[in-house]
């Protein structure tokens, strides 16, 4: 502890210095207020002993200035005074003095007072230091939260616009949401949707959302069934989450018509299928344990299928809604929720949240609260694929002799090769269909001489393919040449196929019909042109990449 003694009388200063140094304090001196300010900066005193009456600047004047120099930490100022009138003493306190020391000085009193004020000073320094650390940690936490929030936002942000037929509302109980709502388009023009609720709330609960969302988007992109998506999520969450944490979830796939829904239901409250007037048509009760509990071998993928009409709606929600409590410790409950949906006041999901908040009154929101309402109407999702095509003309040719015809099934491989051309990939199903029809016609009818009419009965159908297998096994001569050409200027693909057969022109009229079966009419619908040569053993099909 360092004491600054401010007195214009050298004798007093010497006396005080002597007494203080005996007690082990460091001492600096100043002979008036002005000097005290300078000395303060030099020695940063912990306590100031201040005379009242001094030349240049007196004690009353300098006291508030000294206090101002030590705003963060308590700086005790003890006035040294011979004055005894009430007004002077009062003024000492008003200008910021904390105590008095009467002249002549008493060693015991001085020592006791200095000790008392030192303690307060020390306490103040300690609390200042703690505040500083607290502020530092708070700032650091805020920075970390910002960072985490950024990551969450990026991981969970909507990859595409949610269709209008789906309404959702989420109110987290704290900055981070332990509830999770994800959507992704399915390959058949429908929509995958997941509503999840991790154990607890806040950052600890929200952390599971990162791996969960990644798995969900990846699996949805692969076009897996909801049961398979659930199984994959379960495996990942089992691996990552601590034993006491899991994720109750409903995972749904809605067809593009909106009328067919498959659902894996694990641990969330009942979902409701509602008629237009809000009556419950079906209850979807959870069938499984939450994700992240069962080992992979125990996990069940069973899925519920729901078929409904486009006027109906499906309501999903997390337990934060029905378990909201009021001051009387009553739950909001399913009935109140259903009553609102039935009532004429119902406008949107926010009106439910308002009702929940009104119900719980002043009580803090205890848990994250999420609702999703799906209108079972057609989704009408925008197509996602690009229209960019390669500008390089590419031609692929393949000649198959009898041995190759016997041993290979070249259609898919051929299609994979041509699909590698930029922009062609998304047409591969159609291209497969065309080439498969062409190849099978050439092989079955041209090379093997099979007759389509065989396929008219069910047994004949099987027989046909058995016969085909047998003929193919025994095949010793014959050939098929096929060619695919990507024509960038016309944005089209031209297929040509030629077989070693005699062509349908040479066979009886009745058998010529075999070329006009289901296969050929399909080709004509999908391709922009389908042309046989006169002999009937060569077929040329053009597919326009800009169609469909």
């Amino acid at each position: 502890m360092h004491v600054l003694v401010v007195d214009d009388q050298a004798l007093n200063r010497t006396l005080l210095r002597y007494m203080l140094e005996q007690e082990g304090y460091g001492v600096s001196e100043a002979c008036d207020g002005q000097q005290a300010l300078t000395e303060f900066d030099n020695c940063s005193p912990d306590i100031i002993l201040l005379d009242v009456v001094m030349p240049v600047m007196d004690g009353y004047e300098v006291a508030p200035l000294l206090k101002a120099k030590s705003q963060d930490v308590y700086l005790p100022i003890i006035f040294i005074t011979a004055l005894e009138d009430q007004a002077s003493l009062l003024k000492c306190l008003q200008v910021g003095g904390d105590d008095f020391l009467n002249k002549p000085f008493d060693q015991v009193i001085l020592s006791a007072k200095i000790k008392a004020h030192s303690r307060t000073r020390e306490l103040s320094i300690k609390s200042y230091e703690q505040n500083r650390q607290l502020a530092y940690h708070q700032l650091q936490t805020e920075r970390e939260h910002e960072l985490v929030e950024h990551i969450f936002d990026n991981a969970l942000k909507e990859r595409f616009a949610i269709p209008e037929s789906i309404e959702f509302h989420m109110s987290p109980a704290s900055m981070f949401n332990g509830d999770l709502f994800l959507t992704a388009p399915s390959r058949s023009g429908g929509l995958y949707l997941m509503l999840g609720d991790f154990t607890g709330h806040g950052l600890a609960a929200a952390i599971g959302a990162l791996p969960a969302s990644k798995v969900f988007y990846t699996m949805a992109n692969k076009g897996l069934s909801v049961g398979d998506i659930a199984a994959e999520l379960n495996t990942v969450l089992c691996e990552l989450l601590p034993g006491n944490m899991f994720c109750a979830a409903n995972i749904l796939e809605i067809s593009s018509s909106g009328r067919a829904i498959s659902a894996w239901l694990g641990g969330l409250p009942d979902s409701y299928l509602l008629t237009p007037c809000g009556e419950v048509e079906a209850v979807l009760t959870s069938q499984h344990m939450a994700l992240g509990i069962l080992e992979s071998y125990e996990f069940e993928r069973d899925t519920r299928y729901i078929e409904t009409s486009s006027e109906n709606r499906l309501l999903l929600y997390t337990d934060g809604v029905v378990e909201a409590e009021n001051a009387q410790n009553e739950y909001f409950g399913e009935q109140r929720l259903l009553d609102i949906l039935k009532s004429t006041h119902y406008k949107n999901l926010e009106s439910i949240v308002d009702a929940v908040n009104t119900f719980s009154g002043a009580a803090d929101q205890q848990d994250d609260l999420s609702l999703v309402l799906i209108k079972c109407a057609p989704l009408d999702l925008p197509a996602t694929h690009s229209k960019r095509f390669s500008s390089t003309p590419i031609k692929i040719k393949l000649s198959l002799n009898a041995k190759l015809l016997r041993d290979s099934d070249p259609v898919l491989e051929f299609i994979n090769t041509i699909s590698a051309v930029e922009g062609v990939e998304q047409h591969r199903s159609n291209l497969f269909l065309l080439l498969s029809e062409m190849y099978n016609n050439a092989l079955d009818h041209g090379v093997l001489g099979l007759e389509s009419s065989m396929k008219d009965s069910e047994d004949g159908f099987i027989e046909y393919y058995e016969k085909r297998e047998q003929l193919l096994r025994e095949l010793s001569s014959g050939s098929i040449d096929m060619m695919a050409e990507f024509e960038p200027e016309q944005s089209q693909i031209r297929f040509k196929i030629k077989d070693s057969g005699q062509g349908f022109a040479a066979v009886k009229k009745a058998d010529a019909d075999m070329f006009h079966g289901r296969g050929i009419s399909l080709m004509k619908e999908i391709a922009s042109s389908v042309r046989y040569n006169e002999k009937g053993n060569q077929l040329e099909v053009v597919y326009n990449l800009l169609d469909s």
Binding site: S186, R187, S188, G189, G190, G223, L224, S225, E253, S255, S257, R259, A260, D302, Y305, D409, L412, I415, H427, R428, S429, N430, F432, L433, S436, E437, N440, K455, E458, F461, I462, Y465, R468, G517, R518, G519, S521, L522, E525, I526, S548
Partner: protein
């Protein structure tokens, strides 16, 4: 290319899933899948979620199934088709004969 089949625990739903390529290579497997269907007259779902390709032989197989099962099942649904597969079914007017979703 593969085919898996399963019956729901209540015997009301029989699902055939076809992955990859749906063509004549599956003729035998497809037929034996539905001949084992039993007499609980379930609803049959042909799940084409993971079917990337099909051709007219697949259409023939589906028609044969319908003919063969007739009234012994409570309906046949072709489910989860990708857009191009769905289009092939529509072009072939299968939406008149099957419940396609």
């Amino acid at each position: 290319m593969s085919l898996t089949k399963s019956m729901s625990s209540d015997g009301k739903l029989f699902t055939i899933e076809i992955k990859g390529k749906f063509d004549f290579n599956l003729v035998q497997a497809f037929r034996s899948a539905y001949t084992e269907i039993g007499d609980s007259s379930p609803k049959v779902i042909v799940d084409l979620r993971e079917t990337d390709y099909m051709d007219s032989s697949a259409l023939g197989m589906l028609l044969n199934m319908k003919k063969s099962l007739g009234d012994s099942v409570s309906g046949i649904q072709i489910a989860n088709c990708r857009p191009q597969i769905k289009k092939i079914l529509q072009i072939s007017r299968f939406d008149k004969k099957f419940d396609i979703d």
